[in-house]
């Protein structure tokens, strides 16, 4: 197991290097740069040039990349070019909100999707099945931004029961209850899409398992149908879900950009958009790196979890 993890981590290195290189090129190809961003007609072309020089923006890309990688290897993500805050701090502050939102959405989505998926599979080709299927499709086809606004309109503006956005009440730390109140709407928005997709997977996986011979064995032992489903079938059906959940993580980061934007959730997504808009190269690079690590890490975690959950699979 340990060698397996070590090997996977070893493979990460070239992949990450590739990702950062491609990303570096793409980001630098984007027109605009952090200096020109801050419009001031009194600035002379020379000083703008000097600024670029000072920030190293005039070096060849390879040199710039080398410098970035060099400082990265010393554990330093550099300083933001727009706020001059250490990038590590900027990103660090945003990770928890995004992780919180992502985890909450995943959990909510699974809490919805697993029972519905199972129900749908057990009642295959009945009205219930069609209803669940229809709902899941609707869940996957509502754009996040639309659902978000609609929920704000209903729950925050009309009913006034939930805050429209943000992560906590102004000023205070608000306490747990306050945070949860703020978490509800964005979580619902993100979870809706995930749940929609997951229901289909759980259903398909359950249908597959329901065909298996070992269920017949269980029945022939006189096991109650409830346990046949919820013990013998369920555990097998949930195994592939682990992989699928792992695949959600990159989508979560992506979906979060819009959701965080709508709900003013101070996470990675928001920072991404801001640093994109200000061409804050170090921050963009750091975000990208972290996202890539998150994706690769979650892949690895999924595989490990899978092998832990499924006795048949031994990672090697």
């Amino acid at each position: 197991m340990l060698t397996y993890i070590a090997r996977r981590l070893l493979i990460f290195i070239p992949v990450l290097l590739g990702i950062t290189i491609i990303n570096f090129i793409i980001v630098n190809m984007a027109p605009g740069n952090p200096v020109d961003m801050y419009i001031d007609p009194n600035m002379s072309p020379e000083i703008a040039e000097a600024k670029k020089e000072a920030l190293g923006l005039n070096d060849p890309l390879i040199v710039q990349y080398g410098k970035w990688l060099g400082t990265l290897l010393t554990g330093d993500l550099g300083y933001s070019m727009s706020s001059y805050a250490p990038v590590a701090q900027l990103v660090g502050e945003r990770i928890m909100p995004t992780v919180t939102l992502g985890l909450a959405s995943l959990i909510l989505a699974l809490l919805i999707a697993v029972p519905l998926g199972i129900l749908s599979a057990l009642k295959q080709n009945t009205k219930i099945d069609y209803l669940v299927t229809g709902l899941s499709f609707i869940g996957t086809s509502i754009p996040n931004f639309f659902l978000g606004l609609a929920l704000i309109y209903i729950f925050a503006v009309n009913l006034g029961v939930l805050p429209t956005g943000g992560m906590q009440q102004l000023g205070g730390d608000g306490g747990l209850q306050d945070r949860i109140m703020h978490l509800i709407l964005p979580t619902i928005v993100l979870a809706t899409g995930i749940a929609g997709r997951k229901v289909r997977y759980v259903r398909a996986s359950m249908l597959e398992v329901l065909k298996q011979d070992y269920l017949r064995t269980a029945r022939s032992k006189g096991v109650h149908e409830f346990w046949v489903t919820n013990k013998h079938a369920l555990r097998n059906a949930l195994l592939p879900i682990i992989t699928v959940v792992g695949m959600e993580i990159p989508l979560l980061l992506g979906g979060a950009i819009i959701t965080e934007q709508i709900f003013q959730w101070p996470g990675i997504g928001q920072l991404t958009l801001q640093s994109m808009m200000s061409r804050d190269y170090p921050t963009i690079m750091a975000l990208n790196l972290i996202a890539a690590i998150a994706v690769l890490g979650s892949n690895l975690l999924t595989d490990i979890l899978y092998s832990a959950a499924d006795p048949r699979i031994k990672v090697s």
Binding site: D36, I39, E46, L90, G165
Partner: protein, 520 residues
């Protein structure tokens, strides 16, 4: 000639007793764009400038009539339009109790001039700073600065300038660094110093408490404020999306929207006007949205003029802005003191425009690229209307939307044909016209006409106000005729204030925060 302002602060005079007393109540101002930095000498963007000015006063402030009023300064005076004497308010103290003195001003100026400090402030008109606004190598202090005493100093400019110019470029613009806090920080470390992330020591109406990223900036009353302690105990700048801003005005979570960075979308005007818990009005002045021509590609002034004539600007103002706007011809709105009302904006005339184009030999098979920045929906919609207008006279138009950095890069490097951009102006008109000289890093139109260059230079150098007005009239006339740029529209911004908030909102609202009151 000479001139000057002197002041006795009314509020302080009215209620001197309030100084030192704690206020009560919390006000929340909604903004859509988050501030990115609190560095007083490097405010990157409007939101940052606003966030900084809540806690840091400048020597003077601009009021709603675009006039400069003294603030930290008791007076700014000059005899020869080259040496400006500034008296600092006696009572001005940093919020930690340290006296605010000429030393702070000197330190700040030296930092601005220091080549290794990042700043977007350019004071190249001050003696001792080179054309880039930096100290020459080997120097570490600005020779144009002279400290007279703790509360008095003089600034010498390289050449005579009008006092408005001086105040606009210096007194109203510079906010100060606390020398007693930062003096041991090496200049090259200044940008990254912890102070810039957590600027609790400041000299303004409120003091910084906390910046919850992407959510809000929290301030508390500066009880030792030299104009008297604010009546509120707390103030927030709350960062929201536009729909949420409207929603929260309705729910009462937000008390007012910020000028310029807290826009109410046009489609919500009606909804907001109908809200019972808030009162809404339109700000008297706003910024023209410029249509920029790349004169190297759109070389013929007649063509550019024709394109201006072909835009149905009344429709934009009447229907899109629902009447809350005006039509002007170029960079300044009609409320600007330097606005020349004798320059009549062209009337909408599609037929005439078409004729002019034909006369100019325009190739109607040529596609015009219209570059539009994303982020302001009304501006985008107006661009679509403009494109439709142009199409209706037989032109081929292609809209390309870019995020702001991309667009700016294209404009600055003259890699576009027609572009939209909003350029904020200040009380002194020279700042906006500086965009049209080759001396600027930001010459978006690429225009380099000796006549215009000399007019703009004259405008900056002229010390007599009336003479300046004359020069700027000529510039506006030049724009009217040559059309390197024209204004698509000027929209009046909706300013909303909760009924429970007692205070002024509007373009200069940040000047008067300390007078705001909040009833429950």
């Amino acid at each position: 000639g000479g001139g000057g302002y002197s002041t006795t602060n009314e509020a302080a005079a009215d209620e001197p007793s309030s100084s030192g007393a704690s206020g009560s109540g919390t006000a929340v101002i909604g903004i859509v764009n988050p501030p990115t930095t609190f560095n007083p000498i490097n405010p990157n963007d409007t939101a940052s400038t606003q966030a900084i000015s809540v806690m840091n006063d400048s020597l003077m402030v601009v009021n709603e009539q675009l006039e400069l009023e003294p603030r930290l300064a008791e007076s700014v005076e000059t005899e020869d339009n080259q040496t400006f004497t500034v008296h600092i308010q006696d009572k001005a103290v940093w919020n930690d109790g340290t006296d605010f003195t000429s030393k702070d001003v000197e330190y700040t100026l030296n930092m601005i001039g220091n080549p290794s400090v990042t700043t977007n402030i350019n004071l190249s008109f001050i003696e001792g700073l080179n054309d880039s606004g930096k100290l020459e190598a080997g120097q570490d202090s600005v020779s144009g600065f002279k400290s007279v005493d703790d509360k008095t100093f003089t600034i010498t400019t390289k050449y005579p300038v009008e006092i408005t110019y001086f105040n606009d470029s210096f007194s109203g613009k510079i906010r100060f660094l606390p020398e007693h806090i930062l003096k041991d920080t090496a200049p090259e470390e200044l940008d990254k110093s912890p102070y810039m992330q957590n600027p609790t020591v400041s000299i303004g109406q409120f003091s910084f408490v906390k910046f919850a990223k992407d959510q809000y900036v929290q301030y508390k009353a500066n009880d030792s404020y030299y104009l008297g302690a604010p009546k509120l105990s707390e103030l927030y700048l709350k960062i929201l999306t536009a729909p949420n801003l409207v929603a929260q005005l309705q729910t009462g979570e937000v008390d007012a929207n910020m000028d310029r960075t807290g826009l109410i979308p046009v489609e919500d005007f009606e909804k907001v006007s109908n809200m019972t818990n808030v009162s809404a009005e339109f700000s008297p002045i706003s910024t023209p949205v410029s249509v920029m021509f790349n004169v190297n590609k759109m070389t013929d002034p007649e063509v550019r003029k024709a394109l201006e004539l072909a835009v149905n600007r009344p429709q934009i103002v009447e229907k899109l802005l629902k009447g809350n706007g005006e039509i002007v011809d170029n960079m300044l709105p009609s409320t600007h003191p330097f606005y020349d009302s004798s320059v009549e904006p062209y009337a909408y005339d599609p037929e005439g425009a078409k004729q002019m184009l034909e006369d100019a030999g325009w190739d109607f098979n040529q596609t015009i690229q219209l570059s539009v920045p994303v982020g302001n929906k009304v501006r985008e919609q107006a661009a679509e209307l403009m494109a439709a207008d142009w199409k209706s006279i037989g032109l081929l138009v292609e809209i390309q939307k870019f995020d702001f950095p991309t667009l700016l890069q294209k404009l600055v490097s003259n890699d576009y044909e027609v572009g939209l951009v909003t350029i904020p102006y200040t009380a002194d008109p020279s700042s906006v016209y500086n965009f049209f000289t080759p001396n600027s890093a930001m010459n978006m139109t690429g225009i380099d006409d000796p006549k215009l260059n000399s007019l703009i230079e004259q405008g900056a150098m002229e010390t007599d106000t009336e003479a300046r007005k004359e020069v700027y009239s000529q510039i506006q006339q030049y724009f009217h005729e040559n059309v390197p740029q024209f204004a698509m529209y000027v929209d009046k911004l909706m300013m909303v204030r909760s009924n429970s908030l007692d205070g002024e909102v509007g373009p200069d609202m940040l000047n008067r925060l300390y007078l705001w009151e909040k009833s429950e």
